[in-house]
Symmetry: C2
Subunit: 117 residues, 2 copies
Amino acid sequence: METSDAVAALAALAQDNRLGVYRLLVQAGPDGLSAGVIAEKLDLAPNTLTFHFDRLRAAGLVTVRRDGRSMIYAARFDTMNTLIAYLTANCCGGQPEQCVPVAACKPAAKRTKQPAS
Amino acid sequence: METSDAVAALAALAQDNRLGVYRLLVQAGPDGLSAGVIAEKLDLAPNTLTFHFDRLRAAGLVTVRRDGRSMIYAARFDTMNTLIAYLTANCCGGQPEQCVPVAACKPAAKRTKQPAS
DNA sequence: CCGATATTTCAATAATCGTAGAAATATGGA
DNA sequence: TCCATATTTCTACGATTATTGAAATATCGG
C-alpha cells in the first residue's frame, strides 16, 4: 500500500458521517446496504450521501452495485486490513512485545478474554 | 472510544506528513524520536512540524516529553489499538469468518530473534 | 550573562472540504 | 407512456486545513 492510498483511506474515514456509513457497512458485511437505508439510518440527505459514498469508493473502502432502483454499498475488508497493516508496519522496530497487538475484524458478542498461552 | 475521538485520530493520520511522522514513531517504539530528527528525516520546517505534532497529540496518538533542548515524541499504541477495534467493531454482524482478520502491531516480515546479550 | 541550538507561537493565505438546493438520470410498475 | 421511487450531478458558499515567514521561548555550554 502506497502512502497516498493510506492517506486517502484515512481521510475518507476521518469524517463523522462517512465513518458512520462505513461502520454500518462493516457491520452489515458482504451483503451491504442500500443508499436509501443508510440515508434513513443516519438521517442524511441523498445528495450529501452520494458525496460521501464517492469518497469512500475512491479510497477503495467500499464497493457498489445496482439492485433495481437501489445502489447497494458494501465494505471492502481487504482494504481495511491492508490499511491496518500499513499503520502498524514494523511496529517497535520489530519487537512487538512493547506494544500490545490486537486482532482486527473480530466479533463483538463473543468477546471473552484470551487465556495466556 | 467515542466517534469524535475516532474521527480526530483518523483526521490526524489523514495527511502525508503526519502519517509519515506517525509511522516513524511507530517504528521507533516507546523510546520515540526528537522533533529535530524527524524534521531532518522528513525534510520539514520546524514550525510546520510543530503544527502536525499538535494534531497528533490532540488526537491522543503521540506523547511528548522534554529531554534537554529536544522534545521527544513517541507513538501511543493503546490509541492505535483502540482505533482499530473501533473501526472493525462487530464486523460482519459477528460472523468474522466473512472478513479475514489481521493482527496489528506485528513484527516486520523478516525478523530473526534478538541475539542473547 | 552570552551565544547557539531546539522548538514553539503568531499571523496571513491559498487550497480543500462538507452541506444544501435545484435539476437531472435511471429503474420499475400501472 | 406516465408516474413514482432511488440516486446522482451541478453549483455555490462558509468553514477548515497546511504551509510559510517572522518573532518568541526554553535549554545548554562557556
